[in-house]
Symmetry: C2
């Protein structure tokens, strides 16, 4: 791509996303929907001005990683741990239900081959944490109790989704799966998630130490972006999605991550926190310097999601497309929504959690595109899955907006 | 390039640039030299870890454009105008002297063909405003009187350099030059530079108006980056270097750009400024939100300049390379340094201005690479030019550092 053509595309992305987000917000539509619409309008679906070139893909990925970093910084890991088994239950049920139902309906109702059915099931599993978090932010609910459960569950969901993808991909390529390789990937992810916060905390100490001494400005933002990039690289290298690196770095540099041995008052905890915790002042400055970066980059991701959905690919005359899309949309919505009811919460909060888990997006798209590329999914099945992803990505913000508008003041949903 | 490989490269660029800049500053070396060294060490010259891929090139270009935007914001256009003919004289002499001397020495001393000699002369013409500005910033001299002259002259220089490039490129490709096409390009640049600030000021008014009303945050940074991208696109489209767009946008959004009819007290000026000027509060917030972006992106450019200088290309055994490099380095340094003495200033300031004009960098590299690609420059000539560019890029920061250290306190050089 020519340099100046890229400049123009970037301007079109930023301006159209902002304009449609502002326009939509006048009618109560969450900003993320405006950004997706910008991608659909200016992407191949309609005008064809935007093409998903290498650089835009990288910037979009950096956008979602930076957003996850901000989410990680805001995530109180002890509150997440206090939520206990709930995210695990929501993630587990929300993974198994759509996967099995998607597989069963594809294989027995629509007579798809086994491998194709497995890919359809896989496509329906992973929650798009980015879209969910953005919608919750737009509604001012990002620090609510249900958001803690949803974010935890979506993170687990992503890991489950990627493991399933690795599993199915090997199955498709090799014709067989070795338990050892899957176990190895899972083990790596586990170790990474445990060690990453400690490593990041040590780096935070270095930043904290040198930022006070450094003569040239900008050390903070440069070091943190480098840290996020390295974490994302390591996450990818051990088989986890790159966004997990941004999330882990954010958790580690946030104020929520502190050792609280003996209720936080033991001498060991005090020593550890004095040595390893980022100072509140550092965290505060970091948030101030990062907000412009996140605001600049994260819309690129959501616009590019819209760009990657080429509605022209869909053959709208085929009844199979519509029936398949209808059935899978029902499976995708029910599978996630019902998962909310497997934990002990008020009915209203169970329902809210289930709704929050519905958006699919990136991992689902990766699943569907991989299946199509590998020749496992027919064009019509692929088209139906694109519709499902579009609907499950586009509708939940409206549903959540409506839901919180109607029930948000009730004591069961209040902070 | 794989996504995760890019993450690692970006981290290597940011960390090595920062580390070498910090390390160098302990020994009084300007930060920009550390960043260039990072590019030489991790680029193809030594370790070969960094490759100039499409995305890195784009990010580097965005880095230099954002830096020029910041420079533009800090540039008081009336102070520049008050400097009057000085930047024009410095730019003109600093263009003509190295060009003619470079041509003459190449053609008559080294017996190069006419076209090759013209390309050698052209390579020596354009000052690297980015490196100069960075060094002046590092020395705390960016708002000094001589910086105003140097920035103005370097901007004019870049325009002259690009026009010369267009001229020579057409000469090389077609075997002839049409005066009409060159005139057209120059006219476009002139109109662009006159109209851009007015257009940007109108956009600033829109931003100012909507940023107060907008419900979602981040409007300011998104709109301004979009504006800079569009300006850069237009600049390129009319044949000017893209960085001119960033500079023009910065001038327009800064506080230095105000109508001052009748000494600034006429009713017409007051009305114009009330309607078109960005509020001081907007300018202030803009500077605060932009600094992290500039600090993050601008080092990428300087590292990539280092990456683009592959020292392995140089055949160090050829005496021609050394004589050519020596002669051209003398021409390049004297041609710019002497230009400072053509304006009426104190001797110390004349000399400082001349020294500031010496760094070459990007446009010189474009010249040399184009001549090499077109088969006009032999490998040995190309290698010699790379040495000249490396020396004239790397030495002036030391010279300036030394110069200001020795004479900076004298009244002729003080603010």
């Amino acid at each position: 791509m020519e340099l100046h053509a890229f400049f123009l595309m970037l301007a079109v992305i930023l301006l159209s996303a902002r304009f449609l987000a502002e326009f939509g917000s006048r009618f109560g539509v969450p900003a993320v929907i405006g950004e997706l619409a910008a991608g659909l309008i200016f992407g191949p679906s309609l005008l064809g001005w935007l093409e998903p070139g290498e650089t835009l893909k990288i910037l979009a990925e950096i956008g979602i990683i930076l957003l996850l970093f901000e989410v990680g910084m805001d995530t109180d890991i002890y509150r997440l741990a206090k939520a206990g088994s709930k995210p695990v239950v929501v993630a587990g049920v929300g993974f198994v239900l759509p996967f099995l139902a998607g597989y069963a309906v594809s294989a027995y109702v629509f007579d798809l081959p086994m491998l194709a059915s497995l890919f359809v099931g896989g496509t329906l599993t992973a929650t798009s944490i980015g879209i969910t978090v953005r919608v919750l932010s737009d509604l001012g609910r990002r620090s609510s109790d249900e958001a803690q459960v949803v974010i935890g569950a979506a993170v687990l969901d992503d890991i489950l989704g990627v493991i399933a993808l690795a599993f199915l991909y090997q199955f498709a390529v090799l014709g067989q799966v070795t338990v050892a390789s899957i176990g190895q990937v899972s083990l790596f992810i586990l170790i990474f998630m445990l060690l990453a916060p400690v490593a990041a905390k040590a780096v935070a100490w270095v930043i904290d130490h040198f930022d006070r001494k450094s003569e040239s400005p900008g050390l903070l933002v440069t070091m943190v972006v480098s840290l996020i990039m390295i974490f994302s690289y390591v996450a990818h290298a051990v088989g986890a999605p790159a966004i997990m690196g941004g999330f882990a770095a954010g958790v580690a540099l946030g104020q929520g991550f502190k050792l609280r041995l003996g209720g936080g008052s033991s001498p060991l905890s005090a020593l550890f926190n004095r040595v390893f915790s980022a100072s509140p002042e550092l965290t505060h400055r970091l948030e101030g310097q990062f907000r412009p970066l996140v605001h600049l980059f994260s819309p690129i991701f959501f616009v590019m999601v819209g760009v990657s959905l080429d509605l022209k690919v869909v053959d709208f005359s085929s009844p199979f497309v519509w029936w398949m899309a209808f059935a899978m949309t029902v499976v995708a919505i029910l599978g996630k929504w019902l998962a909310g009811f497997f934990i002990r919460e008020s009915r209203l909060r169970q329902s809210a959690i289930g709704l929050c888990m519905i958006p699919r997006g990136e991992v689902g798209l990766i699943f569907a595109q991989l299946g199509y590329q590998q020749g496992l999914l027919a064009l019509e099945t692929y088209a139906a899955l694109l519709i499902v992803i579009a609907l499950t990505t586009a509708l939940p913000p409206f549903a959540l907006k409506w839901y919180y508008g109607k029930w948000g003041d009730r004591p069961e949903l209040a902070g």
